[in-house]
């Protein structure tokens, strides 16, 4: 037992040397509403003080328009907007993309590579925010510790605009 306790910090220290992965699954629920629009969705990682550690994904209308391809409505993602969305020069390679249909959307990120980059060891929150035209808005938060010492699956459940949000951490 004593041996095991001592070896754990060693394991934590060793982890960053291996290419750690982070897999996010965002479920966009099927909604039975009169007027359906795909949600604008943002996925990012926050530090304890709510500052942004990494912008992972932003999905919004990409169709060219007078209003700048849907960028007019980005402040509807209120938390994302104030937490740094408004400082981004969109589109951002590998981060921004088209809105996604209902279903499970999978995203894979690798330590050391954009957009995740080098995430120092520590406590973080994965934040997923969705806002839908003439619909609702929801934020789902998922606290996690980086890097994981062992493979780990964390999950949180949205109640309206988001379904299950899963975070797979690979050490």
């Amino acid at each position: 037992m004593r041996r095991l306790l001592f070896s754990m910090p060693a394991l934590l220290l060793a982890a960053p040397a291996v290419a750690a992965d982070l897999h996010v699954t965002v479920q966009i629920p099927q909604l039975d509403v009169a007027e359906y629009h795909r949600p604008y969705t943002a996925v990012w990682i926050e530090r304890g003080d709510h500052s942004v550690a990494a912008q992972l994904a932003i999905w919004y209308a990409q169709k060219e328009s007078k209003e700048g391809a849907g960028t007019k409505w980005l402040p509807e993602l209120r938390q994302w907007w104030r937490r740094g969305g408004r400082e981004l020069q969109l589109p951002v390679d590998g981060v921004s993309g088209a809105t996604r249909p209902a279903g499970e959307q999978k995203l894979n990120f690798h330590d050391g590579k954009a957009p995740l980059g080098d995430l120092p060891a520590g406590k973080y929150e994965l934040v997923v925010e969705a806002a839908r035209e003439v619909g609702g808005r929801e934020v789902v938060r998922l606290p996690f510790v980086w890097p994981a010492s062992a493979p780990q699956v964390l999950a949180a459940q949205g109640s309206s605009e988001l379904g299950a949000v899963k975070l797979d951490l690979a050490p």
């Binding site: 007078k66 209003e67 960028t71 007019k72 209120r78 938390q79 408004r86 934020v139």
Partner: protein, 270 residues
Amino acid sequence: MKKQSLKWSVLTLALTLPFAAQAHKMWLVPSATNVSGADPWVTVDAAVSNDLFYPDHMPVALDRVIVTTPDGQTAKPENGITGQYRSVFDVHLIEKGTYRIAAINGGLFATYELNGEKKRWRGDAANLAREIPAGAKNVDVAESINRVETFVSNGKPGGLALKPEGKGLELVPVTQFTDLMADEPATFQLLLDGKPAVGLKVTAIAGETRYRNTQEEIDSTTDKDGNFSLKWPHAGMYWVNASTQDDKTSIKQAKQRRLSYSATLEVLPQ
């Protein structure tokens, strides 16, 4: 023209009233406080009313409205219309940063007696001597500065429009005006002639007063640095107001100076 002057006299009354009864509130309400996109605009309602924010009394004169752009230039409101109860205008937010949209009213108020009759007069210093008859008795002149504002940010808040002018009561952000969230306390600084306004009461009232039975005022007091904090109980458009009076008049005939500041600030849900 007659109607116009009647309106001005009502406005005079409305602006004198806050010291007595807090009856009419003057406000500017923008359609959004955070905008983005290639060509953002907001539309603004401007009125004096009892209920927040329902135009039920009189419009704000458009020539009183000044838009300050993030680089510190002034711009005129666009597409303005003045109706019976409100004025409406647009602001084209071409630059990134925070725009200040303000309606500034000021001038002199005089009350006097002529042949035993009580009279009121409103105007500026240049006309004071000419317009108050020589036989007037008990002439009481007061000066006023009333600033009514709201703020809209295109992208990240900031810029020169947030710089105080150093005249009358003004609000300076510690927490950005367009960055307010329910359950998160916000701190601002109140200035009087550019210096911290110490020990002044500040009141915030959420809009939609029509749909509740009480005003639900939130009060705060400025500290030695002029700072005060407000905690918003829920999301909504809030009317924040402070007023004071002193004797620092700009003309010798006026014994008293009345100052008032109001801002419409949007608080978003978490």
